[in-house]
Symmetry: C2
Subunit: 198 residues, 2 copies
């Protein structure tokens, strides 16, 4: 509600915007140690605050993970939109797919939290809103660009999503080695070919 007069004052007892600081620290923690080793205590330490402080903002550790997943979906949506806006040569669908895959490679642990973990509370209203928004945009792109290959719009969406997500997941988990060992620009070319072959 009120904007603190000196939000970054190091000596203040109250932090200013601890919630945002914890999310930032949480992402660093996540990317450095992975979900399996995620620790609330270390996140608090990273934010320079006692380890009991996060409870005031998130309740418990899963509350923080839920907020992190929400933040992740917002970032994800923005990243895809930006990439689509900047792209001149490719279709919106392909540009979005490349953004999806790029996001996974840039934020591997956040991506895993969003798409592979069951620790966030996916019934949480804010999280649902953020993920629905990203998904709806994707559905719109598919509908406006597929040629109705399967004769069923739902199936076209699923086929497209499976392909893009499969590439992102196999790359981010290090399984698709032949693509990973390519330079960034060669990988881009290969991805465009693969996405186009569908």
């Amino acid at each position: 509600m009120t904007t603190p007069s000196s939000p970054s004052s190091p000596s203040s007892y109250h932090h200013g915007d601890l919630r945002a600081a914890l999310i930032e620290a949480g992402e660093m923690e996540l990317e450095e140690r992975g979900i399996e080793n995620f620790s609330l205590r270390r996140v608090a330490k990273r934010a320079g605050v006692s380890h009991a402080a996060p409870a005031h903002h998130f309740g418990d550790v899963n509350g923080l993970l839920t907020a992190l997943a929400t933040y992740g979906f917002e970032l994800f949506g923005r990243k895809i939109e930006n990439d689509q806006r900047k792209e001149k040569d490719l279709s919106q669908l392909t540009a979005g797919a490349l953004g999806y895959i790029d996001f996974a490679l840039e934020h591997p642990a956040l991506f895993a939290l969003m798409f592979s973990s069951n620790r966030p509370d996916f019934e949480n209203a804010a999280l649902e809103r953020a993920s629905d928004r990203a998904f709806e945009r994707f559905v719109r792109d598919v509908h406006s660009e597929t040629s109705g290959r399967t004769g069923d719009a739902h199936l076209d969406v699923m086929a497209r999503w499976a392909m893009v997500h499969g590439l992102a997941d196999l790359l981010v988990t290090g399984r698709m080695r032949s693509l990973l060992k390519l330079s960034k620009s060669k990988r881009r070319t290969a991805l465009i070919q693969i996405l186009g072959s569908q």
Copy 2:
């Protein structure tokens, strides 16, 4: 080397085949509690043995997870071959893809260990052999059935793998809800359509 005369004798000090029993118990533990909560102590308890016993067979907890991933890839390869052998109406490639997806749904945590975790030691010779074998078979199937869509056999393999793996992963993590809510037979039909649209 020697076959114990009474391998299941409950009173014997030596177990008989503790290694196999621990792998079996490990899979149950994995499927019930997930990788994130996997505990060596509970696996030992499940196998009816003291919690220090596994060290004699696997060294440490990651050794057991490596053995579990190896076992998973063997099961995975056998499952796909069996499904292909039984299938009369579909191509070998499609039958194999359905087997891949079925395996994921039947052994979700084992699947996650094999394809999403970094805890097993993927440099381990036995694990590498098991996963290479499954992959080589898949590559062969793609080569013998794709029409050289992209003009590059490597890209055809990657496209196919991404699609199949994407479907398996989105289903096993519960993300592709529209497919999950279908009955098993309707889901099968939808999957065949999606796989065929590539």
